[in-house]
Amino acid sequence: MNRIESAFKNKKAFIPFITAGYPNINKTEDFIYKMVSAGADLIEIGIPFSDPVAEGPVIQESSQKALEAGTNLDNIFELVKKVRKTVNIPLVFMTYVNPVFRYGYDNFFKQCSLIGIDGIIIPDLPFEEKNEIYEYAKKYDIKIVSLIAPTSQQRIEDIAKEAEGFLYVVSSMGVTGVRTEIKTDLKSIIESVKKVTNVPTAIGFGIHSPEQANKMSKISDGVIVGSAIIKIIKQYGTDADKYIYDYVKSMKDSMNN
């Protein structure tokens, strides 16, 4: 069983996101340890990109600050290598296609495999363009996590059939960021997914409260939270450790396990 499968084994997975290098790369390491000890089942590590078109203002700002602080792929690889010495839960990169392309697909996925990355999420690489990275990801056994959106409709089946790792179900239209209410009929989307695959589903975009996490964990296999965590880091900066721990713990505890 690979690490991603075990994260969903007999439990609902809580998946926090963190922008690597925000506010600096050393703090990212500390924050990851806090999230792990608070019960995170899988962590999404964001490789910052200059122009993150799928992100709302909170993650956009964190990406910009991280880049200004000198974060780059080389020091992110170093970070993961260090973290992997003690952390056993799955770690998944989330980034945009250009940094991966520029680094060289073969080289990038080789590095991922060497440092112990389990999967990758690339929001600007839809189903039609998956072949761009497919052979390299396969070669180094890095799972490509695909996204399903409220507008996916007849595409759900095609995407789900080829799914691996887990499926990222986008809760709402638009970009990442906290929302008070989620109106999409996620239940029926997930039912369509389950008809064609056993790959677990996790819902993301807009989730921030334990109540929402509880509700979402009843219809899916996991919950992804990004902007709410980045907001905590924005508020408390290098002193955010304790707040991140408390928040992740409250979210994990609220889930329908």
């Binding site: 990109f49 200059s50 122009d51 993150p52 078109v53 799928a54 709302g56 203002p57 956009q60 910009q64 880049l67 780059n72 792929l73 296609v97 250009n98 940094p99 991966v100 392309f101 520029r102 680094y103 929001p123 600007d124 690489l125 839809p126 189903f127 039609e128 363009e129 761009e132 695909s146 996204l147 399903i148 959106a149 409220p150 507008t151 996916s152 409709q153 595409r155 995407i159 986008v170 239209m173 638009g174 970009v175």
Partner: protein, 394 residues
């Protein structure tokens, strides 16, 4: 699904949320582009509203002064709203209306595409929102007010570097929040398929007319056609019907800003590398980690870090040639055309004029060269004055 690429360039690198809408757009476009009613309606608008066909003007004084090939100017600056942008915008807004959309959004740099989109939206009765980098709203305050007069809402974009590329980011983000009633009127031959093809087709009227006109005046094809290139819409329009005429040189002029050996330029072909951004694979100015560069040009319309995918293909295959033109060369050409022909052209178009000043004297007198004069220069007068150290009040 049709052909989404030009060689290796192009594609559809966009979030899943937008995929179905992009696929729908392609289907609808494929239907309407051959629909006689649509074609008729668009042609009527181009003729009676935009003022087409645009003139192909023989620049006799400039020709004599340079002492070489005959120089012709394709006068897109005389179109309604003052640039070639109206060709694409009328097509796309009409298409959006046929698709049942009630709202259009667009990015803009200097404001030309924003003004054109707001104009078409006013004419065709659509709600309109424009995304413009905050820096650009300050530099082009007059165009912001113009768009407001036309009934559009202008959003000053404060994310990222607050210029054109950030306006595109924000327009894409906004589109992904409401695809149901909204069409994104992309302003150049860029973005995910089918936009590069749609925009090229709507702009190809430039070369369709120019080819007929030059054959009428000269009895033979031109030696070269020359246009400025940012994203590359007027250049694609100027090139398109000449691509098959192998004897005709196609020359695109990129913004070299303060020089391609400085870090202040926007020359994606000369200095960029292949990358994937804004929905397409093409050439982009970027660092070694694939972060998109902040670019620079005196011309806000060319101040973009990438180039359309079909241009990337024409470059790789050698069919078109791309040359860098500095701010100084463009400003000199802007002044030269004003003095010599009494035409104040857009600073973007002046990049093409600058290159022709270099090549015309070396070209045989029996040949001709067409410059795409993509826009008029009223919007640039204050900036040129500042560049020359003149203090004037706008």
């Amino acid at each position: 699904m049709g052909k989404t690429r030009f060689g290796i360039y192009g594609g559809q690198y966009i979030p899943e949320t937008l995929m179905n809408e992009i696929i729908n757009l392609e289907k609808q476009y494929e239907y309407y582009k051959n629909n006689p009613d649509f074609v008729n309606e668009l042609n009527t608008l181009l003729k009676n509203y935009a003022g087409r066909p645009s003139l192909l003007y023989y620049a006799e004084k400039m020709t004599k002064d340079l002492g070489g090939a005959k120089i012709y100017l394709k006068r897109e600056d005389l179109n309604h709203t003052g640039s070639h942008k109206i060709n694409n915008v009328l097509g796309q807004v009409l298409l959006a209306k046929k698709m049942g959309k009630t709202r259009v959004i667009a990015e803009t740099g200097a404001g030309q595409h924003g003004v054109a989109t707001a104009t078409a939206a006013a004419l065709l009765g659509m709600e309109c929102e424009i995304f413009m980098g905050e820096e650009d709203t300050k530099r082009q305050a007059l165009n912001v007010y113009r768009m407001k007069l036309l009934g559009a809402k202008v959003n000053a974009v404060t994310s990222g570097t607050k210029v054109l590329k950030d306006a595109v980011n924000e327009a894409m983000r906004n589109w992904s929040t409401r695809v149901a009633d909204t069409h994104y009127v992309l302003g150049s031959v860029m973005g995910p398929h089918p936009f590069p093809t749609i925009v090229r087709d709507f702009q190809s009227v430039i070369s369709k007319e120019a080819k007929q006109q030059i054959l009428e005046y000269e009895g033979k094809l031109p030696y070269a056609v020359v246009a400025c290139v940012g994203g590359g819409s007027n250049a694609m329009g100027m090139f398109y019907n000449f691509i098959e005429e192998k004897s005709v040189k196609l020359i695109g002029c990129e913004a070299a800003g303060k020089g391609i050996d400085t870090d202040k330029h926007a020359a994606s072909i000369a200095k960029g590398k292949v990358g994937i951004f804004h929905g397409m694979k093409s050439y982009f100015c970027q660092d070694k980690y694939g972060q998109i560069d902040e670019v620079y040009s005196i011309s806000a319309g060319l101040d973009y870090p990438g180039i359309g995918p079909e241009h990337a293909y024409l470059h790789d295959t050698g069919r078109a040639e791309y040359v860098p033109i500095t701010d100084e060369e463009a400003v000199s050409a802007f002044e030269y055309l004003a003095r010599t022909e009494g035409i104040i052209c857009a600073i973007e178009s002046a990049h093409a004029v600058a290159h022709v000043r270099k090549i015309a004297p070396k070209t045989d007198k029996n040949e001709s060269i067409i410059i795409c004069l993509s826009g008029r220069g009223d919007k640039d007068v204050a900036a040129i004055a500042r560049y020359r150290g003149e203090k004037i009040y706008e």
